[in-house]
Amino acid sequence: MNSTTVRNLLVRGMLAGLAAGVLALAVAYFLGEPDIDKAIGFEEAHAHGHEAELVSRGLQSTAGLATGVLVYGVAFGGIAALAYCFALGRMGRLSPRATALLLSGSALLAVYVVPFLKYPANPPAVGDPDTIGKRTTLYFLMMLLGALLAIAAIVLGKRLTPGLGTWWATVVAVAAFALAVGTAYAFLPAVDEVPAGFPAAVLWRFRLSALAVQTTLWAGFGLLFGELAERLLNPGPETAAATARPVAAPH
């Protein structure tokens, strides 16, 4: 029974991740692609030689983009669903739906916003190919660190709750999280590889678009997965009343 619940939640998480990926893909295509094109224009104007094109721009910006964003959505949907199985009933007095949204928001903060503030997304033409190994290691390290520190903060908050009450335990845990992340920022090496003359407005808009893609993905996931989990775990009269009203199909 319990194992079946885990499986059902995992499948729903991957489906919700796929659906949220579709929303994120729309944001990536309409908001992000114009700035990628501008950045590639800058790159070509400053390139010394021409490289052979393995995949055409037309494919990269459509099918390629879709593959990457959707696989990312499914993968994080699955991981978030597994984390959700663990969080369920262990995060205080929260309904399945509220637990999903809280988990989703925490995941956005821990595995995207925390790395992003130190190592923000870069458009093509920004970044020295010789340092790709170092930058990739630092980025994945930052994702891992964000996740581990978030888990540590939640454990700390739960430990402090009996003594301090929920409000102050949460305040202390969040402050400790911010302090730990700030310390990591201070000690990890900075990366600044924006080439001279790269338009600042394009860089700024590209980074905002990248943030919008992730916000859409995680908000969409939290709401969709929360709805699916609520219906799976709580098929009570409240949910029945909610389903009586027309609700957008989760696809």
């Binding site: 319990n2 194992s3 619940t5 885990v6 995992l10 990536a28 992000g32 692609e33 990628i36 393995l54 995949v55 494919l59 990269q60 910006s61 099918a63 390629g64 983009l65 879709a66 593959t67 990457g68 696989v71 990312y72 499914v74 993968a75 994080f76 699955g78 991981i79 597994l82 199985c85 663990f86 369920l88 009933g89 262990r90 007095r93 309904s95 637990t99 995207y112 790395p115 992003f116 190592y119 923000p120 997304a121 870069n122 458009p123 093509p124 970044g127 190919p129 790709i132 190994g133 930058r135 990739t136 290691t137 980025y139 994945f140 590209f206 990248a210 893609v213 992730q214 709580n234 009570g236």
Partner: protein, 73 residues
């Protein structure tokens, strides 16, 4: 860990039942690793490290890698 789940009443919503770690672990170990491998292929394959030779994976997910925030090249 040893808290008892409160009985649902008419006024307070039911606290969702905890799933035992033993039921989650097999799914988490297999699917968790599978999902991480997928993330690796979207985020880092043929950039910093390569499992498959060539540049096809990198070039195919190029735009997604940039917009999802991974270092690309």
């Amino acid at each position: 860990m040893a808290q008892h789940v409160a009985q649902p009443t008419a006024s307070t919503p039911a606290l969702p039942a905890k799933l035992p770690i033993g039921a989650i672990a097999p799914w988490a170990s297999f699917f968790g690793i599978l999902m991480l491998v997928l993330l690796y292929f979207v985020g880092a394959e043929q950039g910093a490290t390569s499992v498959a030779s060539g540049d096809d994976v990198h070039e195919w997910v190029h735009d997604a890698r940039h917009l999802l925030g991974f270092p690309c090249h």
